[in-house]
């Protein structure tokens, strides 16, 4: 058993250091780097997503905690966030970076990152069934939780409206 771990609250200074590091490492790849609530948002163009992911992985962000997709119907885009962090680097493990791209809602295709981050493989399958996003190059793209005919409805997009029993509604 390894002992002697010490607590440390995440300070603004630590976040700033990582932001600077990311900016330096990714260089002209990024559109913007912002500090969000609980994560650092790194926006990149879609055609340079894989390049950015490789660089982040080499920096020490070794796994993805959450592949979060949000449907902005009015803007006509899906925002795809790969929220990555680190297990092996203790300093980076306190930080969460979100590699963010926007893709066209009507033609949802993007490269898969599962060969860079294995941990994202099942989550990409999940996003595929709930949003219908095609991850090109994914080794095994098929629904994970839903049966195929329900997955066809793309239940997590804003087009899918949950019908409630109209008993108490006039």
């Amino acid at each position: 058993m390894v002992e002697g771990l010490r607590f440390m609250k995440l300070s603004e200074e630590m976040v700033r250091v990582v932001i600077e590091k990311v900016k330096k490492e990714l260089g002209d790849l990024v559109k913007s780097v912002e500090e969000g609530k609980g994560y650092i948002s790194i926006k990149v163009p879609l055609n340079r997503l894989r390049e950015a992911a490789v660089k982040l992985k080499n920096m020490g962000f070794d796994h993805v905690k959450s592949l979060t997709v949000t449907d902005y119907k009015k803007k006509g885009v899906f925002e795809v966030m790969y929220m990555a962090s680190s297990y092996l680097d203790e300093e980076l493990s306190r930080i969460i970076v979100s590699l963010t791209v926007e893709i066209d809602r009507n033609n949802p295709r993007m490269p898969s990152l599962s060969d860079i981050w294995t941990s994202v493989e099942f989550q990409e399958r999940e996003v595929y069934e709930f949003f219908g996003i095609h991850f090109e190059g994914h080794p095994d793209l098929r629904p994970l939780l839903l049966v195929p005919d329900i997955a066809d409805l793309k239940p997590l997009t804003k087009d899918f409206i949950v019908k409630e029993e109209p008993i108490f509604k006039s």
Binding site: G38, Y87, E121, Q123, P155, F160
Partner: protein, 414 residues
Amino acid sequence: MSVSVIGGPKRESDLKIPGTEVRKIEKDLYEVFIGPQHPGSGHMRIIIRVDGDVIVEADPDMGYVHRTMEKLGEIRQYIKNIPLFERMAIQDACNVTVPYVLALEKILDIEPPQRAKYLRSLLCEINRIAAHLYGFGIFGVFIGHSTMYMWAFADREVMVELAEKLTGARLTHSYPIPGGARRDMPQDFPQAARKAARYMRRRLEEYRKIFLDNPVMKARMEGVGYIPKKLAAELGVVGPVARASGIKYDARYNDPYDAYDEVDFEIPVFEEGDALARAWVKVEEIKQSLRIIEQAVDWLESHTSEAPIHDKFWAKSPPLWKKVFEKEGRVKLLPMMATMKIPPGKAFARGETARGEIVYYVESTGDSIPYRVRIVSPSARNAIVFKYVVPGHRVMDLPTIYGSIDYFPPEADR
């Protein structure tokens, strides 16, 4: 006279019922379906391909208890999502909902009072022990040790009753709310908690003797389901599975929330990476949780009682609410919470449940219902172990691996 057959099968193809078609399989490789009806894997199916009795391929087939939580979360008021999300793991209710509440607090930009922080952490640790014991019991019965199952489930009752004393509900307590907690600690709680801690410590020693150091059980666990440190990081496994493989990661330590940066405890980390190490992590974690419970109880006892909720809400509450609190120590759910509007914003929060780290991403557009809630539960992240670690093991090792990663289908499917 001719006899005509009315109905009944005429041709061979008529004998086939749709969906029961048979196909030939490749030589020497057999496909075996384990589950979804509980041969050691309730609500979840693992499709394995075996060569002899060595598994060459495993495909976890999840989703049998999917309850569309992310979608339902988008059509309910913020506060109503708390009882919904805790259905993921009812015996671990507080741990599962605290990060959601933390995310809301980040958007609201409030911090709960110190007392609420301690109360939440207290219940979190009680839940953690209960969930670990549940996992232990299931693990025991998976590998044929029914005594462990009986003992763990009986001892879990102690923790469940402790939680009932604190919150009023055995399971699904709906305890944390944005800005605080729902109830203060009752007067007689500290003695009960200390007694439970003493009892639990004694029992853990007996668990060691009958289960962990039992040569028969050790033979089934040692070296089985080995996950090297690098692979564990690559697969992104969480909780006891990661810590048994030498990864020093615990959301309570790496991103302290609630009272965890004030109480004194250790994060047990093992280097072996096998099923036995994962069992030991749980035992050591229970010991640490007992320490936290005792410290939290001491702190709560030595500080004067006050409503464990942020002043922003409490100052505006009607007099009846204050009267109920004085009389019963209960924070009646505030009317303003039911229709509470959260300012526009996005927040990400993480917390450590018994089975590992759970993360929430909440996005608000200033409405009384969230625009998007993303949940990634620990078992959902651990499911990848089946695909990458199980191949190469024998069929009899599958229950050991399944039990040792403490995979919990209702939590994984969300």
